[in-house]
């Protein structure tokens, strides 16, 4: 995880994830606050409404009760006046009072059910009213019965006052009880209000706390989750990348755990050491070979399914396991072998003409030879020195090709003219049993090439054709135009080249007979140089050959552009070619 780095885009997406959650939680808190406010107001409204209903109920109750007392007092006053005066007119307020008292009792009775203490008070009140009414009626009856009754009635006035005091007491009790009830209810209602408010407040506070907690924690946690997810994804991507890299490396990579069990092998390892099941033994065998050889840094030949390969092995221990990397160095090994072969070959190629020169010089100095023989020996020294020069030139050209230091000219070259001059110089030194022929083109073939390098290439092909025709035969050079290209073909009837070698003969240092126990000498550079030079001149060199029937090497080069400068260029070329090449 340590090397996982999040990008800016990842960080932005973390913030994007947290934002809506924060907004939702803030909205939730706002809604809770609103609900709290609305709830508080609602509770208060309910309380206030209860209060009003109370006033509406209890107010008339008190008033009616008071009124009833007043009505009874009015009746009493009227009855007392009638008892004293005997004038029936004074009974008017009494009759009205009786009627109102009845109505008011009914009214009180209707509202009396709000507390269990009220009905007994009311019954007492009714009884007192009824007693007082009975008293009033008997007083009126006494007055109506005559003067004796009037006197009797007057005598009972005091008793009437007693009744009235009872009523007042009953009415007072009723009002007091009702007041107590109302006061208590009022208190209860208040405490209910307070209780609901605190309940609502408490619940709201808890809700707010929870919401605030969520607001503080959830987005942060969400961001952390997203971050972890991103890191995990990135890590997974990285290990996928690592696996992809391991899939495509050219080395075999095997991971062992601390117990030496194979935990992973990449496809190359699978290919080299087989699949999952039987593979361990093949792998173990190879590893054991390396460990036994104690050549872990060096290359070691190993038999794989695909044949013998040279492998190197690098083991890296780490905590909890080991990584083993095998690299196929067969190509390096082959190149190394070719290179060391090349040194032997180059030495041989230099020694052979040198031996002839040295031998000829020693002979000339030490022996009396006829003039004719001396001349032949001098010629031999000249020829062999030239051969030495050719070998050295090849070595230098090859080195230049390696270092990409070769700079080619581009000129118009008359192909037939060049081949003709090469053939005439080869005529002198070729064996008798070889016939050299030039098949001329119908029209002049003007190539765009470096004349010196093209000469080198054709000379090399011509030398090869002669060298590899030990039994003699025809060696032909054909010059022709094919489409937009000029073609120079060098063919022989010599030993030929087996088909499977056609690709390899152009490789550097490659020789058909690497041990050189037979065949003709050569640096193994001639065809390599020829192909490279032809390529750099924009053409190609190919071979067509059957083992035993001879070979055809074909140089294809672009034709020179058809412009007016051409004759001059060709004239220069012709001039150069007439000058004998320096030794």
């Amino acid at each position: 995880v340590t090397n996982v780095v999040l990008t800016g885009r990842d960080r932005r997406s973390q913030r994007r994830v947290a934002r809506p959650v924060r907004a939702a939680l803030a909205l939730l808190i706002a809604i809770v606050l609103l609900l709290l406010a609305v709830g508080s107001v609602a509770i208060y409204r309910v309380y206030a409404l209860g209060n009003h209903r109370f006033i509406a109920q209890a107010g008339p109750f008190f008033a009616v009760t008071e009124d009833l007392a007043v009505e009874m007092l009015n009746q009493e006053t009227a009855v007392r006046g009638y008892v004293i005066t005997g004038d029936p007119k004074t009974l008017g307020p009494y009759r009205q009072g009786t009627k109102y008292a009845k109505l008011e009792l009914a009214l009180i009775g209707k509202d009396a059910s709000f507390d269990p203490r009220i009905p007994p008070d009311l019954r007492r009140m009714r009884r007192e009213v009824s007693l007082l009414e009975t008293y009033f009626a008997s007083e009126i009856a006494f007055v109506k019965s005559g003067p004796a009754g009037k006197r009797q009635a007057q005598a009972r006035i005091l008793a009437g006052k007693g009744h009235f005091d009872h009523l007042r007491a009953a009415s007072g009790a009723l009002i007091a009880d009702a007041s107590a009830v109302i006061k208590r209810s009022h208190r209860e209602q208040r405490s209910t209000l307070v209780r609901w408010w605190s309940l609502l407040g408490g619940a709201g506070f808890v809700a707010l706390l929870v919401a605030a907690g969520l607001l503080l924690r959830v987005p942060r946690r969400l961001v952390r989750l997203v971050r972890e997810e991103q890191l995990a994804r990135q890590e997974a991507e990285q290990s996928a990348d690592a696996a992809r890299a391991l899939t495509h490396v050219r080395e075999a990579v095997v991971l062992f755990d601390e117990n030496g069990a194979v935990r992973y092998r990449n496809p190359i390892a699978e290919r080299w050491f087989g699949g999952a099941a039987g593979a361990t033994s093949a792998l173990e065998d190879v590893l054991a070979e390396f460990r036994a050889a104690d050549q872990r840094d060096g290359a070691h030949p190993v038999m794989l399914d695909a044949g013998e390969r040279w492998l190197t092995c690098a083991e890296t221990e780490f905590e909890g396991g080991q990584v083993v990397v095998f690299r196929d160095v067969s190509d390096d090994q082959r190149l190394e072998r070719l290179r060391s072969d090349f040194v032997a070959t180059a030495a041989h190629e230099l020694r052979t003409p040198l031996a002839a020169v040295y031998g000829a010089v020693r002979t000339l100095r030490q022996r009396e030879l006829p003039k004719e023989t001396r001349e032949q020996f001098l010629e031999l020294i000249e020829d062999e020195s030239e051969r030495l020069k050719t070998v050295i030139d090849q070595l230098l050209t090859s080195a230049q090709l390696d270092a990409a230091e070769l700079h080619l000219r581009r000129q118009t070259v008359d192909a037939a003219f060049l081949c003709e001059s090469l053939i005439s110089s080869a005529q002198v030194r070729k064996p008798n049993e070889i016939d050299l022929l030039l098949i001329r083109p119908q029209q002049e073939v003007s190539l765009e090439a470096d004349p010196d390098r093209l000469r080198q290439v054709i000379a090399n092909l011509l030398d090869n054709a002669i060298k590899y025709s030990p039994a003699g035969g025809k060696v032909e050079i054909r010059v022709a135009t094919e489409g937009r290209s000029g073609v120079i073909e060098v063919s022989d009837q010599g030993v030929g080249i087996p088909a499977h070698e056609h690709g390899r003969i152009f490789e550097k240092f490659y020789r058909l007979d690497p041990n050189m126990t037979k065949g003709v000498g050569g640096s193994g550079l001639g065809l390599y140089i020829s192909r490279e030079l032809t390529r750099q001149m924009g053409g190609q060199l190919t071979v067509n050959s059957l083992h035993g029937t001879g070979s055809v090497f074909t140089i294809t080069l672009p034709l020179a552009p058809d412009d007016s400068d051409e004759p001059t260029a060709r004239a220069q070329e012709a001039e150069q070619l007439t000058v004998p090449p320096p030794l």
């Binding site: 030495a347 031996a355 023989t373 032949q376």
Partner: protein
Amino acid sequence: MGIAALALVEAGRGGDDLASLGQTVSRRHLASVAGGEAQRGSSPALVVLLVDDDRAMRMVCVVNLEAEGFRVLVAETGRQALALAAAERPDLVLLDVMLPDMGGFEVAAELRHLPIVFLSARGSESDLERGRQEGALDYVTKPFDPIGLSGRLREDLDEFARTGSAEQVWAMRFGPPSGLEE
């Protein structure tokens, strides 16, 4: 001598100037050679079959060997060498390792019944070891001094005649084989 010259001409495919050169040189130096032979008890000249595809080297060897009284048969290829060896039964085969048709070592294997001296520009220890295994008397590495060649060949042949063993001759030149196998 006449037959040898004919064989030489045959081997060199008639027109080879080298062959004619060899012939000429042989004739010119007949007197001195004959003198040398007389000292050796007028035994017939030793016949060397020279097998080398390199024209210049052949020329140098032929001139020098004939100057020292050898009769030289010349072959350019392995097959020519085998044919000549069968026809002429030379006293010694001077054999190049690299030949155009078959390898010098292969030719040596065919000619095991004859004393063989290799002549090669390849002079690594493994080349020498291969030569020893093929039963050669000696291995001359190019470049060499052609003036001393005939003397060396005579020494080889004398030692071979004395001991009868090619290995003994080889050991005289290069020491015991164990030293070579390192």
